[in-house]
């Protein structure tokens, strides 16, 4: 008898929980049509045509460090993907991933600067989208804030 009561209680609890899961899924899907970037904790990347072209350029970057702005960096483990793929590029010395705004800072070895295209490929391999590349900090290192 007690087992039966437990089963009934468990089933009702499960029913309520599942109802919650389905409701949240429906609400989430309904919210999928919102303007891009509105739910990413307030950060939206604005990209010019020149910046877009830089991510496809085969020419080495002109700076010793760069800030890569990426989309799809939704979790702590994604940042590890980014870190590992960037460090496979010859010339990349250090990487710091800031999850708050999809900001990845990379420092390069002197004279061994990678191209925007190579960085873009690494980001593709990491499963995120490189939106634009900017000049990184000149002095100090953001990896040790």
């Amino acid at each position: 008898m007690r087992t039966k009561q437990w089963k009934t209680l468990a089933r009702r609890g499960a029913m309520a929980g599942a109802g919650l899961v389905v409701s949240v899924m429906l609400l989430g899907c309904a919210g999928g049509g919102q303007p891009r970037g509105t739910m990413a904790e307030g950060v939206v990347h604005q990209v010019t045509d020149d910046e877009r072209a830089m991510t496809r350029s085969a020419a080495p970057l002109e700076w010793d460090s760069a800030v890569l702005w990426v989309n799809g960096l939704g979790c702590p483990q994604c940042s590890n993907n980014v870190d590992r793929q960037l460090k496979r590029i010859s010339g990349v010395q250090d990487v710091h991933v800031d999850l708050s705004g999809g900001k990845v800072t990379a420092r390069f070895m002197p004279g061994r600067r990678p191209s925007g295209q190579r960085l873009s490929q690494a980001m593709e391999n990491a499963g995120v989208t490189l939106v634009k590349i900017e000049k990184g900090p000149e002095a100090g290192w953001v990896g040790a804030p």
């Binding site: 089963k7 468990a10 089933r11 609890g13 499960a14 029913m15 929980g17 599942a18 919650l20 899961v21 389905v22 949240v24 899924m25 989430g28 899907c29 919210g31 999928g32 891009r36 970037g37 509105t38 739910m39 990413a40 904790e41 950060v43 939206v44 990347h45 702005w69 990426v70 989309n71 799809g72 960096l73 939704g74 979790c75 702590p76 483990q77 994604c78 940042s79 590890n80 993907n81 870190d83 590992r84 793929q85 496979r88 710091h96 800031d98 999850l99 708050s100 705004g101 999809g102 900001k103 593709e124 391999n125 990491a126 499963g127 995120v128 989208t129 804030p145």
Partner: protein, 288 residues
């Protein structure tokens, strides 16, 4: 083979899995993955994830048999590896023990290695709409392949499977959905706990994930706490259909994750296998 020899072999298998895990080192994984629902995420090329899990399942009476209740312990190890951009492969190795209470009050126990699932994952769609949000879809194809273990849990067959999974992340929320069809070519009704018998099986799972902490990522975020709820469905072509509810908690760091779940029966119509009373599970995800 004697029972002691069976135990020895099981220990060897578990030991082997442990040695492989240790030898592989330890590093990265994929996010928004929960315990029982597939996600459209994968390790990047040249990296992998080892995912040891332990589950306890308590089942009721098996229809048409002398089994009153069955408790199953499962040590499941999944190894996923990124093969190329948008391509990954995973292997699931389950080691199982069951303790069965018969209607006459006697007990029987079995142990063995179940079928090894080898599944390729190919990402067919990705839309990263902002720094956090993404929508991804993958196609899954592979097979449940007998481990060669002649004890009760091996099907002695190769069972192809095909399906897909969808993952959506919107700020603190994540959603996963999968559908996987298995063409069973072997298996035994007497030991089937769901999807492992001679009948084809359709698994359909949904999951909602919510990031509890931190509410906003910062430059110093190295880990996050999530709660999630899954609805796990399994239909077999013999007419059996079952829904389970699985709430859980997960901590995700940059190189490892840990998760615990409870699983409860939601609804079922089962004439060929025992229904679930409850289950608990826990696991780790370690990147290498």
């Amino acid at each position: 083979m004697s029972r002691a020899a069976h135990r020895g072999r099981t220990v060897q298998v578990l030991g082997g899995v442990g040695v492989v895990a240790a030898a592989l080192g330890v590093t990265q994984a994929a996010a928004q993955e929960v315990m029982h629902t597939e996600a459209a995420t994968m390790p990047s090329p040249g990296t992998g994830v080892i995912r040891p899990q332990f589950h306890v399942y308590e089942y009721g009476t098996r229809p048409g048999s002398d089994e009153k209740s069955v408790r199953e312990y499962e040590a499941l190890t999944r190894i996923s590896y990124g093969l190329a951009r948008a391509w990954a492969v995973s292997l699931d190795v389950p080691v199982r023990w069951t303790d069965t209470l018969m209607t006459d009050g006697t007990r029987e126990d079995d142990e063995g290695v179940g079928d090894i699932d080898a599944v390729f994952k190919c990402r067919v769609y990705r839309d990263d709409s902002d720094p956090i949000s993404t929508l991804r879809a993958v196609v899954l194809a592979g097979a449940g392949i007998t481990s060669g273990d002649a004890r009760p849990f091996g099907s002695q067959s190769v069972n192809p499977k095909i399906g897909g999974a969808l993952t959506m992340v919107r700020g603190r929320w994540g959603f996963n959905q999968d559908v996987i069809y298995t063409f069973n070519t072997g298996g035994r009704r007497e030991t089937n706990m769901g999807g492992e018998g001679p009948d084809d099986a359709l698994a359909y799972n949904s999951a909602v994930v919510y990031r509890v902490w931190p509410p906003r990522f910062s430059s110093e975020t190295h880990g996050a706490w999530y709660v999630f709820g899954e609805v796990n469905g399994l239909y077999e072509t013999n007419g059996d259909n079952e829904l389970r509810f699985t709430p859980g908690v997960m901590y995700e760091g940059r190189r490892w994750s840990a998760e615990v779940v409870v699983q409860l029966p939601l609804a079922d119509s089962l004439d060929h296998r025992p229904e679930l009373d409850w289950a608990v599970g826990g696991g780790l995800r370690i990147s290498f």
